[in-house]
Amino acid sequence: SVSAGGGEGDGDGQTLMAVKAGFGNAANALADWDGGRDHCAWRGVACDAASFAVVGLNLSNLNLGGEISPAIGQLKSLQFVDLKLNKLTGQIPDEIGDCVSLKYLDLSGNLLYGDIPFSISKLKQLEDLILKNNQLTGPIPSTLSQIPNLKTLDLAQNKLTGDIPRLIYWNEVLQYLGLRGNSLTGTLSPDMCQLTGLWYFDVRGNNLTGTIPEGIGNCTSFEILDISYNQISGEIPYNIGYLQVATLSLQGNRLIGKIPEVIGLMQALAVLDLSENELVGPIPPILGNLSYTGKLYLHGNKLTGHIPPELGNMSKLSYLQLNDNELVGTIPAELGKLTELFELNLANNNLEGHIPANISSCSALNKFNVYGNRLNGSIPAGFQELESLTYLNLSSNNFKGQIPSELGHIVNLDTLDLSYNEFSGPVPPTIGDLEHLLELNLSKNHLTGSVPAEFGNLRSVQVIDISSNNLTGYLPEELGQLQNLDSLILNNNNLVGEIPAQLANCFSLITLNLSYNNFTGHVPSAKNFSKFPMESFVGNPMLHVYCQDSSCGHSHGT
């Protein structure tokens, strides 16, 4: 082991013991910090080879509690401090400003509170200041602009308030500015484009107001611009088209006006998110030019007009969310060209016409949601080719025809919602092949025939709702095999016969609604059946319901 000579590092061992004492609970993690002379060999300690002065402390993820001792200020040679992912509390000591050699300070992922000390501005060598994921309050000190070599400033996920100091923007060296998840107020200053070396600008999730600066396009070094989830208002300026960003996140603000056509020229965009604003007008067809974009989110606006067929040219698209707008017209068949599409959400618009058969060419499609439109026609035969589909929601449209038995081939489905349509014919027994199905909703249609006995194979299913149809026949006793079923909703059909006693084996069953059918005989008296209220059985004139309250005796479920 190294023995300390008569260098600068002479007192550092004692200082480290004071730092250890501050942690309070460090006995185990820092057991080898024993007060002996070879502190350079202690866990996480790095020393200068010549002077034995402590130059680095790497104590991340050691479950350290307590506080950062002011004694740390005595480590004048300290260049590198990593205390992230511990349970440190208290304030950052002012004495940190005495560590004049510090280049890298990472205190992220602790429970530190109080203000960011102004003394940090004395650290003229500092390049990386990472304080994210703490409980820090107060303002961002404008004096941080006095750190000449600061490259990374990450203060995300704290409770910082006040404005973003404009002086911070006048820094040609800063590369990374992470301020997301605080309570910052004020506006975005045009000065932000003075950050000529910055690639990452992130103020997501604050309380910023005002408009996007007219000159935003001058921020040409930015690769990521995330100003989402603030209260930014006004229109998206034309000038935004001069940005070179890969990610443009403007969602969750109060932006108005149209989507500027110039965005269609921003081919470097990998992610474009304009969702949850108040944008109006059409989706510019020129967005189809974004042939390198993987994620396009325009949902939750007031967009009108048709879905441009040109979007089918966005060959790298994996997420397309246009839901919750006021779009009209049909679903363009050209979307079938999107072979990498993973999620297509068109819900809650005013779309009409058929689902184009070409959609079955989207072989990567995992989620398909057209809930709440005015679509009609039948389910295209080719749908069974969408083998990756896990979520299929066609609810609340005007679809008709039979439910294709081939849906049972989409083996990865966990949600199948065809409710509130005009489907007729039988419930295909092949639905019982969907062993991963969690939720099956076929309610509010015109389905006939019986509940297939094959439903007993839906081993994962939690919700079965086939209410308000024209089902007939007996309820299959195989339903008693469904150990994960928590809701069985079959009211308003014409089901007959006795309620199978095997239903009492569905131990997870919480909600049972068999009302308004033609069940006969007695409600099973077994075990858990007594928990279901009368309302579960009303409207079955020939069904004898045993009242749970012995005082009310026998009654009919009328």
Binding site: S108, K132, N133, D154, A156, Q157, G178, R180, W199, Y200, D202, G217, T220, S221, E223, I224, D226, Y238, N239, G241, Y242, L243, Q244, V245, A246, T247, S249, V262, L265, M266, Q267, A268, L269, A270, V271, Y292, G294, K295, Y319
Partner: protein, 61 residues
């Protein structure tokens, strides 16, 4: 630097070409890389940036 790379003055952008950006390694291609800004609740997509990739190594465009 990105604007200079394009050699254009009008609006619009392009992915990097990654020409000789991988320090002699071939082929050198532009890829999307997710940048993880730390804890993200609720879990949503991460911002993405362009990097040049050769084999399993990434380089700045």
């Amino acid at each position: 630097p990105a604007a200079a790379r394009r050699g254009l003055v009008g609006p619009g952008s392009s992915p990097p070409t990654c020409r000789s950006r991988c320090g002699g390694c071939h082929p050198c291609r532009p890829v999307h890389v997710a940048i993880q800004p730390g804890r993200s609740f609720p879990l949503e997509y991460y911002p993405e940036a362009w990097r040049c990739k050769c084999g399993n190594k990434l380089f700045m465009p």
